[in-house]
């Protein structure tokens, strides 16, 4: 577990701005690298205490995954950014939300910038879906939190 360097953090902020229109992100939080592509967020106080403990498995929340410069936000990552996300958002209806949470692909007519979009239902964000070339969105809901039919 390593903190993001200021340079890495700047890169991330720029990508979030260009992909999702996010102007201010995770301001009061520390961002932690987990493995090569995953990012977690935690409060400073939490990180300070974690550095004193043994047997630490995880700190804070998993918020995003970076792949080839694209950013896939987790459900909680998108909810943390909440009102800041302006671009690449797909508004879902109730039926689509069910499909989203079952990780069933959703057809879309729109074209999006980047490889990921963020789902939104009413004012609740639901994490990212990967956009495929055939116009399908593949929700990135981890297996353990999918609704099983």
């Amino acid at each position: 577990m390593k903190l993001l360097s200021p340079r890495e953090r700047r890169f991330l902020e720029n990508r979030l701005r260009s992909l999702y229109g996010v102007e201010a992100c995770f301001n009061d939080l520390v961002l932690i690298k987990c493995g090569r592509r995953r990012i977690r967020a935690a409060t400073k106080e939490t990180m300070e205490l974690a550095s004193r403990l043994r047997g630490v498995q995880q700190v804070g929340l998993y918020v995003m995954k970076i792949s080839n410069g694209d950013i896939s936000l987790s459900v909680e990552g998108s909810q943390l950014l909440d009102g800041e996300i302006k671009d690449n958002v797909i508004e879902l209806d109730e039926e689509q939300v069910e499909r989203w949470m079952k990780a069933i692909p959703i057809k879309t007519e729109k074209t999006y910038r980047g490889r990921y979009v963020v789902g939104k239902f009413n004012h609740l964000y639901l994490g990212s879906a990967r956009v495929s070339r055939n116009g399908l969105l593949y929700p990135q809901i981890p297996k353990w939190r999918r609704i099983h039919s």
Binding site: A42, T43, L49, G55, V56, Q57, V59, H148
Partner: protein, 342 residues
């Protein structure tokens, strides 16, 4: 004689009449078998109504949940559930806790559950954290945290301020704990994998509050698994007692002076409850038992005399909740202050 404590009896009666309704528990589900040693043990217990206990064991636990106010406004979540036809009633002893009266859909398969807007948790299981009463800004240790019901409840009451350390000894159980804390959206949490008994080596006098929800023989939740009653024996309780004594000492040593510890189990045996707390009182002079006051919950005071043996009178300040007291789980809860703080 055991004394029934807790106020607002009319509220309890009203809640109790609703608790089991959602699972049509009035039908008898079969005969429950107690091991000989358990039957003999329970017959010695003061003021225990075995018929009522068996009746409670036969009934499934009521479905209940907590609204996650870290993610959304309580009222909004309740409206979403109402729109799905779910009806519920407030649990008087638990902030944000509700018991389901009518459940036309499986709550565990709803979007609200998967998104972490609600957390399904049995009603009495919410009691230990309510007794611990963590406040925003505090450092709290949950020593035996998996699968995370009480950890998420602590996180909710911390409201993003302070730090929660959620520890467990089992790798597989830590995975479940991590998933639940992620779904609940907790930022200020550290998950550790460690034998809880070793925690003071690195975190002595580090925490404002500690919860020791110790592994136990689970006689309070037999309705979930009747096998518990069939296979129970006194040796199991005694073996667990040794572990529980070490855990409560470890938890206490992690407390700052002036801090508070809650010891809880979901079992009924004196060996796993009062005797564990007595061990702490004997070993740590600065451990002081505190009164527990939970309005609207039916409970009785701890046992101070058992099997011809006099225990510490102060143990009457701890509480026992029988499964038939509120027609839910059985629990034991003790609250201990570490003297010496300002």
């Amino acid at each position: 004689m055991t004394q029934i404590l807790g106020g607002a009896v009319s509220t309890i009666t009203s809640l109790n009449s609703r608790l089991p309704r959602n699972k049509s528990v009035d039908k008898v589900l079969g005969e429950i078998k107690l091991s000989e040693s358990l039957r003999e043990y329970l017959s010695k217990m003061p003021d225990l109504d075995l018929d009522l206990l068996l009746e409670a064991y036969r009934k499934p636990l009521p479905t209940s949940f907590r609204v996650n106010t870290l993610k959304m406004d309580e009222h909004e979540v309740l409206e979403m559930l109402k729109e799905k036809g779910v009806s519920f009633e407030k649990i008087p002893w638990a902030r944000y806790g509700y018991v389901v009266e009518d459940e036309p859909i499986d709550l565990g398969k709803t979007v609200e559950h998967m998104l972490g807007l609600i957390y399904i948790q049995a009603p009495i299981s919410m009691v230990p954290v309510e007794v611990l009463n963590p406040k925003p800004g505090e450092k709290v240790l949950d020593l035996c945290a998996a699968p995370g019901s009480k950890s998420t409840q602590i996180a909710q009451l911390l409201d993003g301020l302070g730090v929660l350390v959620a520890n467990d000894v089992s790798f597989d159980r830590v995975k479940a704990l991590a998933s639940n804390l992620q779904r609940f959206g907790v930022l200020n949490v550290i998950i550790t994998l460690m034998d809880g008994r070793k925690f003071p080596r690195f975190a002595r006098e580090c925490f404002d509050k500690v919860l020791v929800d110790a592994p136990c023989s689970s006689l309070g939740i037999v309705s979930k698994n009747w096998g518990i009653a069939r296979s129970w024996n006194l040796e199991l309780a005694k073996r667990l007692n040794r572990l529980q004594r070490q855990l409560i000492i470890a938890g206490f040593d992690c407390l700052k002076p002036g801090g508070e510890l809650v010891y809880a189990t979901c079992t009924l045996t004196v060996e796993e409850n009062e005797m564990v707390v007595q061990y702490l009182l004997e070993r740590r002079e600065n451990a002081v038992l505190k009164e527990i006051d939970l309005p609207s919950l039916k409970y009785r005071c701890g046992i101070a005399e058992w099997d011809g043996m006099k225990l510490d009178e102060r143990l009457r300040k701890t509480i026992r909740i029988m499964p038939y007291d509120n027609w839910a789980e059985g629990f034991y809860v003790a609250k201990v202050l570490k003297e010496g703080g300002s």
